[in-house]
Amino acid sequence: MARYDRAITVFSPDGHLFQVEYALEAVRKGNAAVGVRGTDTIVLGVEKKSTVKLQDSRSVRKIVSLDDHIALACAGLKADARVLINRARIECQSHRLTVEDPVTVEYITRYIAGLQQKYTQSGGVRPFGLSTLIVGFDPYTGVPSLYQTDPSGTFSAWKANATGRNSNSMREFLEKNYKETSGQETIKLAIRALLEVVESGGKNIEVAVMTTEGLRQLEEAEIDAIVAEIEAEKAAAEAAKKAPAKET
C-alpha cells in the first residue's frame, strides 16, 4: 500500500487513488460548512474558529462572491481555496467577455470541478485539498441551485449538504429535518444544522444569504438573534416533551 500512495498518477491494485483520498481527509479536518437551498433563498454557513483574538476577522472571509449571482464556501486547505477561487473569478468574467452572458451555477461548478480533476491526473502535483459548496440563482430562469465539488473532481447538485468537520452529523440532521423552505426559515435550517457541530454563538459562525438581489453577509448580531430564536424553540420543544409525561 505504501508504494501506491506517493504519486497521484498511480492507481493502487484495488483501484484507489490514495492521494485523492488523502486530500479528502484534509477536507474532513477543515472547518464545517453547510449549504441549504430554499425556494427563494440559498444559505451558506461556515464554522469560524474563535480562538484567534488578535486577528482581524474581516480579512478572513470564508464565504466569497465569484460573481454578482454566485457565491462559494469551502472546507479544507484555505491556500488552495484562494487559488481555485481566483481561477473561478477569472472564468466568470472571461465567460461574460466571450459570450456576453453571466455563467450559470452549473457551468462554474463544472469548471471548478474540472480544475480539481486536472490535478488528479498530472505528474508531480497534488490535488487541491478542498471541497466547495457553490450556490447561486440561474441568471435566465431564476432557479436556485446548490452544488458541491470535492478533490476528486466530482460534482453534483444538492438540496442541502455539508462538508468539512463532522459533516456526517450535519448531513444526518439535514436528511431528517429538510423540507422546502423560503426566506428566514431557510436561514434557520442552515444555522440549526451548523449548531449541531459548532459551539453556539454569532462569533463562531459566518452566514451568508444568496437571493436574487445578491449575496448578503449576516452581521454577528443578526446571527445571535437567530441563534437565540433557535434555542428558545428547542427549549419550548423540550418543555412540551416533558409536560405530558408529568401529567401521568
Binding site: R61, S65, L66, D67, N86, R89, I90, C92, Q93, S94, R96, L97
Partner: protein, 198 residues
C-alpha cells in the same frame, strides 16, 4: 466623423458622444451607444475603429469587474485610466487598438475626474476633453464658455452649444448624440439629442 467629448462640473462629470456607426459612405445605424458604463461610477466614451472599440472596452470592463471581486473594493478612476493606458501601450508596438477614450468617473474621496486617453496611449487628467473632427469645434466652444464648478444645467447647455457647433460646421456631421453623466449617485444615461429616428 466620430465625436466624443466630456467635461467636469461641480460634483459630476459629463461625457457626450455621437451615435453613428459608419462604414465608408453608409450609415449602419444612428443609435449606437459608444459610452460604456464601466462600473457603477465610471463612464467610458470611446471612438475609433468599431471592432477595436468593442474589443478593448469590453476587455477593460471585465477586468475592472474582476478587480472588484478579487479585492472587495472597486478601482479608482485614476487606477482604471492607468490600467487602460498600460494595455494600449503594451499593444501599441505590436497590434495597436485604434480607440480614443474619454474616461469620466466619480470617487467618493476625490470627487469627479476626467481622463483623456488616445490610441497611442497618451494619458492626461483634464477638465475638458474631445476627440474627432468635432473636437475642433467642441474644444473651442468649451475654452470660451467652460468654468470651474459648473452646475449640471450649465454643463448640459454648454454640451448643447458644442453639439450645435458640430452640427452646423462639420461637413458630415453625426445626426444624433447621447449624453451620459456620472456623479455620487452613479453613472447613468442623461439624455439624447436627435435629428433623426433610427
Amino acid at each position: 466623423m466620430e465625436c466624443v467629448f466630456g467635461m467636469v462640473g461641480k460634483g459630476f462629470a459629463l461625457v457626450v458622444a455621437d451615435t453613428s456607426a459608419v462604414n465608408s459612405i453608409l450609415v449602419h445605424k444612428s443609435n449606437e451607444d459608444k459610452i460604456m458604463v464601466l462600473d457603477s461610477h465610471k463612464l467610458m466614451g470611446a471612438s475609433g475603429e468599431a471592432g477595436d472599440r468593442a474589443q478593448f472596452t469590453e476587455y477593460v470592463q471585465k477586468n475592472v469587474a474582476l478587480y472588484q471581486y478579487r479585492n472587495g473594493i472597486p478601482l479608482t478612476t485614476k487606477a482604471a485610466a492607468n490600467f487602460m493606458r498600460g494595455e494600449l501601450a503594451t499593444a501599441l508596438r505590436k497590434n495597436p487598438y485604434m480607440v480614443n477614450i474619454v474616461l469620466a468617473g466619480f470617487d467618493r474621496d476625490t470627487g469627479p475626474s476626467l481622463y483623456f486617453i488616445d490610441y497611442i496611449a497618451t494619458l492626461h487628467k483634464v477638465d475638458k476633453a474631445a476627440f474627432g473632427y468635432g473636437s475642433y469645434f467642441a474644444l473651442s466652444m468649451m475654452d470660451r464658455h467652460y468654468h470651474q464648478d459648473m452646475t449640471v444645467d450649465e454643463a448640459i447647455r454648454l454640451a448643447e452649444q458644442c453639439i450645435e457647433e458640430i452640427r452646423s460646421r462639420l461637413v458630415v456631421a453625426p445626426q444624433n448624440f447621447v449624453i451620459k453623466i456620472v456623479d455620487e449617485d452613479g453613472a447613468r444615461e442623461h439624455s439624447w439629442r436627435r435629428t433623426t429616428r433610427d
